[in-house]
Symmetry: C2
Amino acid sequence: MKITVVKNILEANDRIAEDNRRLFEESGLLVINLMSSPGAGKTSLLEHTIDALSGRLRIGVIEGDIQSSADAERISRKGIQVVQINTDGACHLDGNMVRHALPALTLSDLDLLIVENVGNLVCPAEFKMGEDHKVMILSVTEGDDKPEKYPLMFRESSILLINKIDLLPYVDCNVDKVKEVSLALNPDLKIFEISCKTGEGLDSWTQWLDEQVRTRSRHT
Amino acid sequence: MKITVVKNILEANDRIAEDNRRLFEESGLLVINLMSSPGAGKTSLLEHTIDALSGRLRIGVIEGDIQSSADAERISRKGIQVVQINTDGACHLDGNMVRHALPALTLSDLDLLIVENVGNLVCPAEFKMGEDHKVMILSVTEGDDKPEKYPLMFRESSILLINKIDLLPYVDCNVDKVKEVSLALNPDLKIFEISCKTGEGLDSWTQWLDEQVRTRSRHT
């Protein structure tokens, strides 16, 4: 009985996500669903990404948080379009929440929409929102056993950003093990090692993102 | 409609949690629900706690993970009673999962049962399991904005352990701000600053735990 309810919710969500996806395609917009544990560096990554691509791409952001608008305020300082979703307790964004946020944005003025999900390594990976790519961050401070313990997000993501590599001298995290187990779960996963603090590795990430937008634009 | 379903699930869970609680009281057992984000240090804290209280308290552990038995294997090396719950995708433990794990333990041989929840700063705080205390860990690497962004767990917990303080020189985390916002949410919250790496602060935590067990034992 419980399984049926969950299945119905996921199927209803998939239909809304498909509607979102059509709208994104009509707008020639690339959409990224950015996910991680709390505090792995999603908002910091956003700030660096917006700075790096400023002048090249028109970026909009949807901020998902259980409550508070602190992240949307941080991002709005960059002078871009941003809208905050408060889930009021829910541990993930879904297609319907994103749909209701879209009228607050002028999609025709954007090349790239990044949706920052609620900080949670589990449920966000289950709910599509019509995105082109799921991108996940793992902080090295979380340890090297996370792909084995939270496999779904690693399976669903196109990109794994291993963040806070500046802290590697001070924590017990075998990055090679993270990569090996992640690639066993998802052989197509692209992995970038980054530090939002020092800026290391961010060029490869923003270059990948820029290429995705340009490929998408040529097709539409 | 959705709200009704959720309410019914929570009410059904509360009834099972009450049954568990009666069983724990009959067994003279103190029960701790240990929660945090992924990688904040729950299993490391457990290892230190078991070592520190070895010979003084008889400790049992229930390990909650989406999949894998890695944590139960780590804990079983301590030679204590341990049982693994795999939630098969679910992002939190609930009263029913704990109830089904209890027959695998000899409760009459235990003074203290610690339940390590799934790594998630959101949903575990919503589901009672019949515990005496919720205890949460926040790693300083997660940043000082977490109480504001994930308030429920801070409200529900008796204890906040601020972990990985050995990393404070290398991360941007204002511990005073964490304390201030946490106490505004929950004035009864006890806060200990700890490092599972250096051992700093762990004595205060294990002393608190020992006192809770002894108080409980005198009452039953």
